[in-house]
Amino acid sequence: MKGEAVSAGIAFGNVFILEQDLEVKDCSIKTCDTALEIERFQKGRQLAAEHLERLVKKVLAEMGEDKAEIFEGHLEILTSEDVEEEVTEIIEKSLVCAEEAIRIFAETNAQEMEELDDDYFKERGQDFRDIGKQLIKGVTGKFEDLSSLPPDTIIVSQELTPSQTAAMDMKNVRGLLVHTGGVNSHAAIIARSREIPAIIVRDTNPEQIIRNGDKLIIDGFTGDFWINPNATTTTKLKKKQAKKIKERETLLQVVSLPSVTADGKKVGLYANVGGLHDVESANRYHADGIGLFRSEFLFMESSSSPSLAHQVEVYKAAVTAMGGKNVIIRLLDTGADKPLPYWQLPQEDNPFLGVRGIRLLFEKEDILRTQIQAMLIASEAGPLGMMIPMVASLKPIQRIHALIDEEKRALDWKGPDNLTLGVMIETPAAVQLIEEILEIVDFVSIGTNDLTQYTLAADRGNPLVDLYYDEFHPAVLRSIAHVIKKANKAGKLNGICGELAGNPLVLPYFVGLGVQELSATPVKLPDLKYILREIKAEDAQELVKEVLRIPTSDGIRARLNRFLQERDLLR
């Protein structure tokens, strides 16, 4: 059977089906059933408490006291008499089943907390919902404990949310098979950065054909998958895996060599990372810097916004690990499509055109200021670039400049001048304003995923418009050319950090434009470096002249293909 390959590699493992959030259907009961429902609630609560106790121990051992205390608080409330009294009362008075009574209890209390003035207490509302979910899972007996998965697990799921991935025990995950999303969905990006094979199976609902515990092989090169495969298939795939691993090792030998073209032009090959785990692989692949540190994962891992001390620790560790190479950290980039558990966002019809990135951060200035402070303090350890997401005018840049100055004054900053400020170029407006932007920033980096969707008016998360979302569209490639040209003229550091930067096919075009750095998932760096070292900047400049005249994506693809083919670099 076949799906779409979104992250390379071959995985062998046992299926673990990820249940979706439990929906409680309104279930009314008769008066004579109340005793039964109360008993179900009490048994479920016992199970939920035992489950939480284990979680507290695990979190304590792995993440320390701070995080464990959140779950200790949950446990205290969950086992309190109040919960028992309130839920029992709802069952008896409203005549509903245990699950519905718990849901009403959790929601009522959450809303009461959210009405408080203090931000910290408001966030505790989410804790009541979490407690409610734990209780419902106890009653139904369906626990989803992603923090300890059995070895050799292949996750099968409708979709994978950012917070699910953050809680997941990745060391035991061998592969992902998901139903919805595209090559740029969150699940696909995470899989590539963790070097885990992944495929997307859209036409059939995987949960109808795959059961928990089934053996599964997924081929992240072709998109093929086999449920309970026979011995012949297993042997064949094992062989293929061995061959691929060998090819990879050959590539890895190239990776420690300098990032220059055959005729000596330097192009920095940087890494995109989501956390310290990825910084390690960036170093393993000899990245010349970090071109995009996605700080949102730091914000998704915990049930409250990360503290100043914690952020400083993480950013500083990244800067230190890179040993003086440039580290570009993007300010929290989130929106209604990437919600945070402790930050209630309004529902929007078009989250991609809504309050996201810097627009959202301006609404929570305390979070923004904390992040700015953290980056400033972390820059003591070495060069750190602060990158602003979702900029469509000069105003947000000026505002951030002012905030940095204010925070410097507040801290009485006398540290080294290592902090630079840049903008993620991802809206057509930023492309048009590039000259003025360059006057007030230190660097720019093009985010091709968003630039493509905003330029072509095609939602990158919507599979129905996959056909219209085309990174090779001349409008996208010409916008990139314009930005790079202007940045080089202004003598400002410029780079590309979207998915396109990791595509070997378009590498010669970027080299020809004179881009200073390309930032991709660490695992892509060996391929990029191999090609970079084989081509000449001179030829690439000729290629650019031709590509800029081609009016269609198909034409551009064919021309780029030919460039690599002529040099025997096409794989």
Partner: protein, 88 residues
Amino acid sequence: MVKDTFVITNPTGLHTRPAKRVVAEAKTFECDITITSISKGKVANLKSLLKLMKLGLSQDSEVELSCDGADEQAALDHIKSYIQNLED
């Protein structure tokens, strides 16, 4: 019944962890103990973490502690000093 009014001083207020400890202390007394948020005019049973948390007592909140029962004076003195000595 005895009562006293004072201000919460610890930086994070009576959030989950300190509140949990206060509830544990309150439970060692026999008398009924309630705490009132003066600005909000809301009362909660101090032996209930859930109800205490919903008062949202942050730093600088003014509260009235009131104890009613056999060991009321001992409870009032002990709980007041316990809350005022919270550090985190």
